[in-house]
Assembly symmetry: C2
Homo-oligomer: 435 residues x 2
């Protein structure tokens, strides 16, 4: 007999959980589509060289290898680790077929070949939106991306969350104003990105290792302590007398962005100058979403603005902004905290019982009438005692059980209200039922 | 700049094609769910040993290899090549949590590491249903699987097709009645399975190579010539005086199955005793769907009955029946033959124009009103001349363009009827529009 063991990091749901996950997916998709984002899908595999062109440095990538091939003459293929790099490649490749601004959503699994460890998935869904324009992308697109993600998270009943927002130009301009060399500035970003993991002490040590003096380190840490609600954004820059053009641009972008957000979204936004985001390609807005009462959960969503992601693939300027919801992790969190109910073990609302095999055709016909009226129905596969069939309906979470009498008369039992009535008009019953 | 080349065999759609593919997916999913099949998803990767336990012999499997790992200490992982083997593993693994009969649908990509060649995909969607019972699975489940697949294919406007049906017991019992050894019978099946590719001459040669004499070969070929419509099934066995218990059982199963099918499905069914199906695990019903005018296209769907697929993984008898629709290939065929329209390049029905940036908030508010009434809407991202904005709506396939006047009054242009009217009540307009 084959080994039956869980593959660590590849989560699988029971049917009742998958039905619940699909509800979440459909709710997010509806929000995305209502805002005019269109679906695309890219292949699970990319050329390894494509993945390495942007951002792949820190990722553990899964290479594909044909089991029966002695050696692959082709370029190596690898599973994508996010949906942003494949989307950039797709946009460049289909440039002449797409209408810009290109607005897409994308729901696909991504893979990260990390060492197996608790709470880390190696296969998970991401659910992204991005807007890509030609040459110039106004800040209203950043505001729209933030707004749509906020609405999606609200729609799926995410517990109180905070969208932490910063701008790379604020950080890099600030570091420049301190006289830090360009090559070192990115390393400072990477150190600051670890703040929540290694605390100020750890960041200090790393910055010190980069050759920065105590005074510079104190100023860098001071900036990370700035956290203000979006409606108080003007106060974020109080006491920061920085004369740097990039810093000023980043600050103005943050101010303009906040002004463009609808009130409901603004309430969930925190301007947080400690946010740095490790990934290389962001050039303006950066964002991370956190559940307020569960900071240990990490980020619910993340994203930002990139000005030249597709320039690796095409000689065009294609600035973009995008945010990704970490769907599988979020759904897993919802199950753990009972935010998402996984109670229906079947898509069926109704079971049609069969008291004898001669009656199966009549039972099938009744089920077809129910389906035609939109009620998902199933006919029991055997004809044991009716009690056994009712038990089955109950154990699968179906609410209604139908009985076809010898005279062709139909009765239905509501397992919730424990009542049984005769049904003369199936279609009418379907319309009037409490679904 | 990175190389930009198509990865052969990994098809990707443009947004308008993906929107169309999603319509097909939703239509099939609706049929499956209306019949009480529930969704599951399994990991893209399985232990290589799981895949090799059943059916993997002829498949080119993609192994996963961590790019930064010097050597993997874990068992090798590989991408699944179909959804049946993973489902069997899933059922065995979750045996105590599932209610039987277990009825699931599963839509996922599968991967085959074939050599790249025209018309062969290496990544594609399969969309499967299966029913798995404990100990015993009555034939009404086979009939249901055939019926549901027939209804799904009809629902998505598949051109005239034929569900070719046979029973493994008919073939194996017939070969036994000819005195062919058990070990040779399976090889005969594999040779007969190639009939449409290598014709009778080629099959003869292979059978001859197995040591069968000319008379036996003629009888085997004669059986493959039996093709009758489902409502003439009684005539299928005319002149076949075979006294073999397994043959008789297979024949009776076919007769009973045909009797259990609703008339609409029966019309699409052909009893075809040439059908053998290469895969190892089928034990009763076998099925393949073909488009009548396009035999070159190969099979639209395929499946059958297996009595012991999960027994590799668990010490229980779990007979099942399942059929898989080759979704990606079918959608590709639909595009090629213009059966599926890919005209809308956006999910948006309406564009809200912006004649000046000061007016963006009013435009956003209008778009939110439209969305609240279920009309997917997008606000133009800049504020150029209105003609340019209308061109954009047209190029993305949106039907309606909204204008917010300086007085707050709203007008809408219908790009199809070329009419423009004032809208006083947005919600009412949404209800009355022609979507």
């Amino acid at each position: 007999m084959s080994k039956l063991k869980n593959i660590s990091g590849f989560p699988e749901w029971l049917p009742e959980q998958k039905i619940a996950e699909d509800r979440v997916i459909n709710a997010i998709r509806r929000v995305y589509a209502l805002h005019g984002f269109s679906p695309i899908e890219t292949g699970a595999a990319e050329l390894l060289s494509t993945l390495e062109a942007k951002g792949a440095v820190d990722k553990e990538i899964y290479l594909l290898k044909r089991v029966h091939a002695d050696q692959d003459s082709e370029d190596p293929l690898a599973l994508h680790f996010d949906l942003t790099v494949p989307m950039a490649r797709y946009v460049a490749q289909n440039f002449n077929e797409l209408v810009f601004p290109f607005r897409r959503y994308q729901l696909q699994k991504v893979w990260r070949g990390e060492r197996p460890q608790k709470g880390r998935f190696r296969e998970f869904y991401q659910f992204d939106i991005d807007i890509i324009a030609r040459d110039e992308l106004p800040l209203c697109c950043d505001a729209e991306a933030v707004t749509v993600i906020d609405r999606a998270l609200t729609e799926i009943n995410t517990p109180a969350y905070r969208l932490r927002i910063n701008n790379r130009k604020v950080l890099l301009g600030f570091y420049r104003s301190l006289g830090i060399d360009e090559a070192v500035r990115k390393k400072v970003l990477i150190a600051v990105d670890k703040l929540h993991k290694i605390k100020e002490e750890g960041v200090s040590a790393e910055l010190s290792g980069l050759g920065l003096g105590a005074d510079l380190i104190q100023q860098i840490l001071k900036l990370t302590r700035v956290q203000v609600a979006a409606d108080k954004i003007e106060t974020a820059f109080d006491g920061l007398a920085v004369s740097d053009e990039m810093f000023a641009q980043g600050r103005n972008e943050l101010l303009e962005l906040a002004a463009l957000l609808p009130e409901a979204t603004k309430r969930n936004v925190l301007i947080d100058l400690s946010l740095a985001r490790g990934l290389d390609y962001y050039t303006g807005l950066i964002l991370e979403g956190q559940i307020i009462d569960h900071p240990e959960f990490g980020s619910v969503c993340a994203g930002g603005r990139y000005d030249d992601l597709a320039s690796e693939f095409i000689n065009k300027k294609l600035p973009g902004v995008g945010i990704s919801i970490g769907l599988t992790r979020l759904v897993d969190f919802f199950f753990t905290h009972k935010i998402l109910q996984a109670d229906a073990r079947s898509t069926s609302e109704a079971l049609v019982t069969v008291y004898a095999e001669e009656q199966r055709r009549a039972a099938n016909d009744l089920a077809d009438q129910l389906r035609a009226a939109g009620v998902a129905s199933e006919v029991f596969y055997k004809s044991p005692k009716l009690g056994k069939q009712i038990d089955y309906a109950e154990s699968k979470g179906m609410r209604y059980v139908f009985f076809v009498g010898g005279d062709g008369g139909v009765e239905v039992k509501d397992l919730k209200t424990k009542t049984q009535v005769r049904v003369d008009n199936i279609t009418q019953w379907c319309q009037n039922r409490i679904a």
